[in-house]
């Protein structure tokens, strides 16, 4: 318990620094865009309606979706600038998060500024003209000062929203306090989740109080309060962003992970090995499955572990199913030809989609394989992760066995197993390398018609580093070094309810084990 807390605490400077930097940039940019827009809108009803409507619609888009949408948009934009002007930019990480959060921050600033300006007594504006103010002077000396408290209240709302929503920028590759929450959710480490939530909430509250002080300062014309607020805000920004200054790494190797425990362990393992070999390392944890592949192809991520079947059906769009070795060979060839991605090799285990049931239930119904499910399926409930039911593999299984389940439910992987144990669902789509299959003694159903592709864990390297021999040399020892039992055991150490270990701790144990195995020949030589 205390160890977990200490580990979480150690990550705080980096996570908090990025969180503050990201939120600050988004709020500043949001204000810079919203203020002039609001000033024009306050004078023109034709502009006001669409501006408020669009900002309102953006606000209704779920934060996670808005953030995720910006990655493909920026990727396309980057490809365009690369083709037209000869330069591209990183479409992953800071930029998509900044763009989405900026849009998020706009509505309250826009709405409050317009309300503040429109609400000014017309007699005061006539007086402003009568004493000889130009249009600019009216705005600067009368309208903005009178609307300032309302505008600042809008900025306050925006700041709290942005600080909260910034925790969702982890899946697009931007480090934030959300890293605690996403890692914690995936590994069922509730202390970590709570730590992230509390850290973000405390930050939001502190900023809110400081801006409230500024608001009071404006209303009461108290210079002391305004100065106090400014000093407080600058202090928060400096203290939190300062630790990032030393860590700016130009040519860092970016290690990416998808959003589940096995990926976190492997990411930590690869990162540790590279760091040990003297590489500067950056981690991008919890990326979406498609985001991470595009990011590798674009060079926003340099190393990560994917699964052959995922690339086969998602990226190569293949529906035929040759042998396991053939899939690997054709995938390697396609990756190199199409994207210039280096396929370093398989890690030695498969993490396949596999359908699982409670052992007793399967025995009672005489179900041994997916084929036996067909007659029961219409009265059964199946649970899956967020992807499976929209994936081609699922359609292929449905077609091959004529399956049609009565109910399909989606769960966070951790809750998937509980749903099965608790009887909420009859069948789940599990993952073959998951330690919980053995732990709960689940019955894995066979796939006699071979409807599911193989899912060998494969190590991939970005085009930019495809020929980086020193990098490949560090990664090579991992090829074939992790068998299924080892990975299942490692995963269980993170997933289990008692004596939980962090992915980093498990990665160190795995590292030691791999080193011991690969170094045995050296010792005996």
């Amino acid at each position: 318990m205390t160890g977990e807390f200490a580990a979480a605490w150690a990550d705080l400077p980096e996570y908090l620094g990025w969180h503050v930097l990201l939120s600050l940039s988004a709020i500043l940019l949001g204000v810079i865009i919203s203020l002039p827009l609001a000033i024009f809108s306050a004078r023109s009803a034709i502009l006001r309606m669409p501006a408020l409507a669009i900002a309102g619609i953006i606000q209704t888009i779920p934060g996670l979706a808005l953030l995720a949408l910006f990655y493909p948009v920026l990727l396309g934009l980057s490809a365009f600038t690369q083709a037209t002007f000869g330069f591209g930019f990183r479409a992953l990480g800071f930029l998509p998060a900044l763009a989405a959060l900026t849009l998020y921050s706009m509505l309250p600033v826009l709405r409050n500024t317009i309300t503040g300006l429109v609400g000014i007594d017309p007699a005061v504006m006539t007086a402003a003209r009568a004493v000889g103010m130009t249009r600019g002077q009216q705005l600067r000396l009368v309208e903005l000062p009178l609307a300032a408290p309302v505008i600042l209240a809008g900025i306050r709302t925006a700041a709290v929203w942005v600080i909260g929503t910034a925790t969702l920028s982890t899946p697009v590759g931007q480090t934030s306090l959300g890293n605690y929450i996403f890692t914690g959710l995936q590994t069922e480490n509730w202390i970590l989740v709570l730590f992230g939530c509390v850290a973000a909430a405390v930050l939001a509250l502190v900023v809110d109080r400081l801006l409230a002080l500024a608001e009071e300062g404006l209303v009461l014309r108290s210079r002391l309060r305004l100065v106090g607020s400014a000093v407080g805000l600058v202090a928060v920004i400096c203290v939190s962003v300062f630790p990032l200054l030393g860590s700016a790494r130009e040519h860092a190797i970016v290690v990416g992970t998808k959003s589940f425990e096995e990926q976190y362990i492997l990411g930590a393992l690869i990162g540790d090995r590279l760091a040990h070999a003297g590489f500067a390392i950056e981690r991008r944890d919890g990326l979406g499955s498609q985001v991470i592949f595009d990011a590798l192809a674009a060079g926003d991520v340099d190393v990560y572990v994917d699964y052959s079947g995922t690339i086969w059906s998602d990226d190569m769009k293949r529906t035929d199913l040759p042998s396991r070795a053939d899939v690997l060979a054709r995938m390697a060839d396609w990756l190199k030809r199409k994207h210039g991605i280096a396929y370093v090799g398989p890690l030695g285990f498969e993490n396949a989609y596999a359908f699982a049931m409670l052992r007793d239930r399967a025995a009672a119904l005489h179900i041994g394989s997916v084929a036996d499910l067909a007659s029961y399926a219409p009265h059964m409930k199946i649970g899956g992760d967020f992807e499976i039911f929209s994936r081609p593999e699922w359609r292929s299984v449905e077609r091959a066995y004529g399956l049609r389940f009565g109910t399909e439910r989606q769960y966070q992987p951790d809750f998937l197993y509980r749903a099965l144990i608790g009887g909420d669902v009859d069948v789940i789509s599990a993952f073959s390398s998951d330690g919980r299959i053995a732990q709960y003694g689940l019955k894995l159903l066979g796939d006699p018609k071979g409807a599911l592709p193989p899912y060998d864990a494969v190590l991939l390297v970005s085009p930019a580093h495809a020929h980086d021999r020193s990098l490949l040399a560090v990664l090579k020892p991992l090829i074939g070094a992790i068998d299924l039992a080892t990975m299942q055991r490692a995963n269980l150490m993170v997933d289990r309810q008692t004596d939980k270990l962090s992915p980093a701790e498990v990665a160190r144990m795995l590292d030691t084990e791999i080193t011991r195995r690969t170094e045995i020949p050296k010792v005996s030589r």
Partner: protein, 257 residues
């Protein structure tokens, strides 16, 4: 000298009552009162002198120069303007309100301070006591004094006043109105004042211009208007204060004290 020729404002979306073909010459140093019922166009006429309202046709000349030549903001800084609802800036103190026009004219700060001190003393509202107060912390009469000081700050030669005493209680009004008339004489101002109160017009004006439905009905000194009202409408206006005086005498006469 303000020359007004064929000044016309068509009825407009901004709600200003229309006025038609007004001709009037106001002499330097003159105190002219525009009087008439609500909606007769007297405020429209007044605000066309400093271009708060732009005329549809006709012309205003000040000392021979058309006010359309040049910047309206600069014109307004040279002309004092006092409102019925005062129009003080709620976010500025009394002293800052008074100094605003001078600030717009980029007068050096010490000069603004000196002028503000002087005006506040003149208004019998010592700066030490009232300078830092916000409009909401002042009484109606005090606010109007600050509004007057603000209008006078840049030493204008022309003052435009839109029912300046209309919103004040009678005691304050009876104190402030003659005070302003004295100030007008002492500073040699040219004043155009709008009111619907005939008594106020008689007490303050050198000349009265009676308006009705966007036109002048009669222009003349109070004596001329009393001795020869142009029509029944003007006669009605004159009769009104008389009737009130008679009614008042009856009530007071019946009073045992």
């Amino acid at each position: 000298m303000i020359d007004i020729a064929n000044l016309t404002k068509d009825y407009h979306a901004d709600g200003a009552p229309a006025v038609r073909g007004l001709d009037l010459a106001i002499a330097t140093g003159e105190f002219l009162v525009l009087v008439g019922p609500s909606g007769c166009g007297k405020t429209t006429m007044l605000t066309m002198i400093n271009r708060l309202t732009e005329p549809s046709a006709g012309e205003v000349r000040i000392d021979g120069r058309s006010i359309r030549d040049g910047d309206p903001a600069a014109l307004r800084r040279r002309i004092g303007f006092v409102f019925q609802d005062v129009g003080l800036f709620p976010h500025l103190t009394a002293a800052e309100n008074i100094g605003i026009t001078l600030k717009l004219m980029r007068m050096p700060k010490p000069a603004i301070e000196a002028r503000t001190d002087e005006l506040m003393a003149q208004m019998q509202m010592p700066r030490a006591q009232f300078g830092g107060r916000f409009p909401r912390e002042l009484s109606g009469g005090q606010r109007q004094r600050i509004g007057l000081a603000r209008a006078l700050a840049a030493r204008p030669s022309i003052m435009l006043m839109d029912e300046p005493f209309g919103a004040l209680d009678p005691l304050t009004r009876d104190e402030l109105a003659p005070e302003y008339r004295a100030l007008h004489d002492a500073l040699g101002l040219t004043t155009v004042l709008v009111t619907h109160d005939m008594t106020e017009a008689f007490l303050l004006a050198d000349r009265i211009a009676v308006m009705r439905a966007g036109r002048f009905v009669q222009i003349g000194t109070p004596q001329e208007i009393v001795s020869g009202p142009a029509d029944d409408f003007v006669r009605g206006l004159i009769e009104n204060p008389r009737k009130r005086a008679r009614a008042l005498a009856r009530v007071l006469g019946a009073d045992p004290t």
